[in-house]
Symmetry: C2
Subunit: 148 residues, 2 copies
DNA sequence: GTACTTGCAAAGATTTTGCTTCCAA
DNA sequence: TTGGAAGCAAAATCTTTGCAAGTAC
């Protein structure tokens, strides 16, 4: 199996600096919010939080920063089964991939880690000679609380 | 493990009729294209194919028909890692879920079936008491042809 | 100083909605 | 016949682009 490239555990800001990315006031703020966010943020939610601290920060800057982070593989982009519209959600990439379970009734998002998932990735890389850079697993259905 | 609800192997049209869905000329055509399509179609591509046979068919009807099929669980909605924009792709739902591998270099989409994937779904349902209605696995990376 | 980044406005892409007319059952 | 579906136009939602002014290194 391919050795998975690990994302540094250092804060995103340090990671970016070490990659030669210019750190602006705006990027510092956005990156800090993404890192400390409890849940999954979409671009507009991120923008709204950022504006509390920097009211001049433009929405476009949010999209550009997210694009930059995505290009560097430092955030994962999620759809969460499009529970509400076609927007995307972002989370800082951790060392271990996880599965998102989206309840179609209450909207709750759970995360799930599994060694089976790791094995599945290994199987894909081996059997198809496919080098996985990013993988997304999302399930929609009813969570334990929402069943009959 | 939960017993998976199986989609009938009958053509989509029959399936819809048996569910009491009104079959119009437009729906018959769209459903036939989706079923016989080789790859994964987005709404506009589906519309363009449909217009060849029925030039009056409106784009909105395509969106509404896809929404109806999705609601009935008869198609899967995919993003294919947003290789080209934010659109969605659709495929007729088969009895067995599969994983989509999207090559970020050449754009090729491969499908991958695995008993590990089935096991993983079982694990999720068991350990989280989560009743999976739809699940989507998409991996982005380099396919065998695009490495080295 | 210079190349990269931001803000602003505008455009682009995709999908949804309101309403009238039409048609399948 | 009658409730649901289609067509049309317009709007809503999410994201990207062009360009002038600003800023990190």
């Amino acid at each position: 199996m391919q050795v998975e490239k690990r994302v540094s555990r250092r804060p995103l800001e340090q990671e970016l600096v070490s990659r030669g990315v210019r750190m602006t006031r705006q990027r510092r703020l956005l990156v800090e919010i993404i890192q400390s966010a409890a849940g999954h943020l979409d671009a507009i939610a991120l923008w709204q939080r950022a504006k509390e601290q920097d009211p001049t920060l433009n929405k476009v800057t949010v999209y550009r920063t997210l694009g930059m982070l995505k290009k560097h593989g430092l955030v994962d982009e999620l759809d969460l089964m499009h529970l509400e519209g076609g927007k995307h959600y972002y989370e800082a990439k951790t060392t271990r991939d996880h599965i998102h379970l989206a309840c179609t009734k209450c909207g709750r998002i759970q995360e799930f880690e599994s060694s089976l998932f790791e094995k599945l990735k290994g199987q894909i890389e081996r059997e198809r000679q496919f080098r996985i850079k990013v993988v997304r697993v999302e399930a929609g259905g009813l969570c334990d609380r929402c069943q009959g």
